[in-house]
Symmetry: none
DNA sequence: TTGTAAATCACCCGAAAGTATGAGGGCTGA
DNA sequence: TCAGCCCTCATACTTTCGGGTGATTTACAA
């Protein structure tokens, strides 16, 4: 069992995943990069393992006479790898997370240049693209009819969108929707 | 060191996790499914490793015989005690708890930094104090009825004011009035 | 395959908004 | 004093808005 062999073994998971999953052969390089970044620990493991075996081999040929110190040798190995196991577990074990919600007061300040709607707020409220579009035109002061004309939709569609929008924003009127939209950073 | 033994070692992390975490014994099957789906990598690792060792063993007995027996033995010891270390750590280490603070954003209406409506624009457009007052409440999203209530006036009065306001601002709807009011510096 | 969500459109009804017109009282500057 | 403006309120009418319900198509995920 040579050292390259061990290293090969240690790399197996990554390789296996690569060949099993990687149907798109053009993306191998990208995939490899992902492997390198994601499986950093596995790679470190492999290198460490290899180095250790190398060290042991060296020690074996340098100082130890196998017949004499076999038990010591095995004991050392056992000790070393027990330690390795402990270290690895401590390093890798995912801590049980306790989530504490801390309320943070956020003052909304609208950036004047290059406005982009707050994606997070949009997702949280479940506001769709169309609805945001309608909201924007609302804030420009257009009536539902004008919005329908502008978007090449029927008046009823705009009404549906606005109704859904009001519910998601928890408001009753378009003026409130515009006001809240600005406050939440959905509108410029 | 038999092959089933090696396989057992390789399954150790999953098994250990199962028995250490699985306090709810009724959910073992569900837990196993989760293990299967989540720890796909680990399983692939285990199977690959096992297969490779099997292959090596076979080669060893077939062609190489004794020469590599020692390395395999040491490797097995290493693995065994790595597993032991992992198991020991999982068993003995006090459960790591990590407190995660999640910021929950609470939106606050920004403190008014002493806004003053543009007097010049007001005079130019001939907008009276009452009308401006109505416009401000409009921009807050209030309905005519609510504005009337707030100002202790009748609904009709508010309608009059808003109508006059719209004419002076040259707009057709309250949303446009709010938009234009902000644009002209009449509103914050 | 089934289910879910978005987007589209329709119809009805009541509420709110907006238009038009008029009227009475108060304040002010010419 | 009186014209002009503001504020108030009213009636009548039209338009727009918003709620409720439901159908259809598309797309995407389970």
């Amino acid at each position: 069992m040579s050292i390259p062999g061990i290293c090969l073994i240690l790399r197996l998971p990554a390789i296996a995943e690569f060949y099993l999953i990687g149907e798109n052969y053009e993306r191998r390089n990208l995939f490899m990069l992902k492997i390198l970044s994601k499986n950093r620990l596995v790679i470190i493991y492999g290198i460490s393992f290899g180095s250790l075996v190398l060290l042991l081999k060296w020690l074996e040929y340098r100082f130890l006479i196998i017949d004499y110190a076999f038990e010591v040798y095995v004991g050392a190995i056992a000790l070393l790898f027990t330690g390795l196991g402990v270290w690895l577990t401590l390093k890798l074990s995912s801590p049980k997370t306790e989530t504490v919600f801390v309320e943070k007061q956020v003052y909304i300040t609208k950036p004047e240049t290059g406005f982009l709607p707050d994606e997070k707020a949009l997702v949280e409220l479940g506001i769709s693209r169309r609805e945001l579009e309608v909201l924007e035109l609302m804030s420009a002061g257009l009536s539902n009819g004008e919005i329908a004309e502008r978007l090449f939709l029927s008046l009823n569609t705009i009404k549906s969108h606005s109704s859904n929008l009001f519910e998601k924003l928890d408001v009753k009127r378009r003026t409130q929707a515009v006001e809240k939209g600005k406050r939440l950073g959905l509108l410029a």
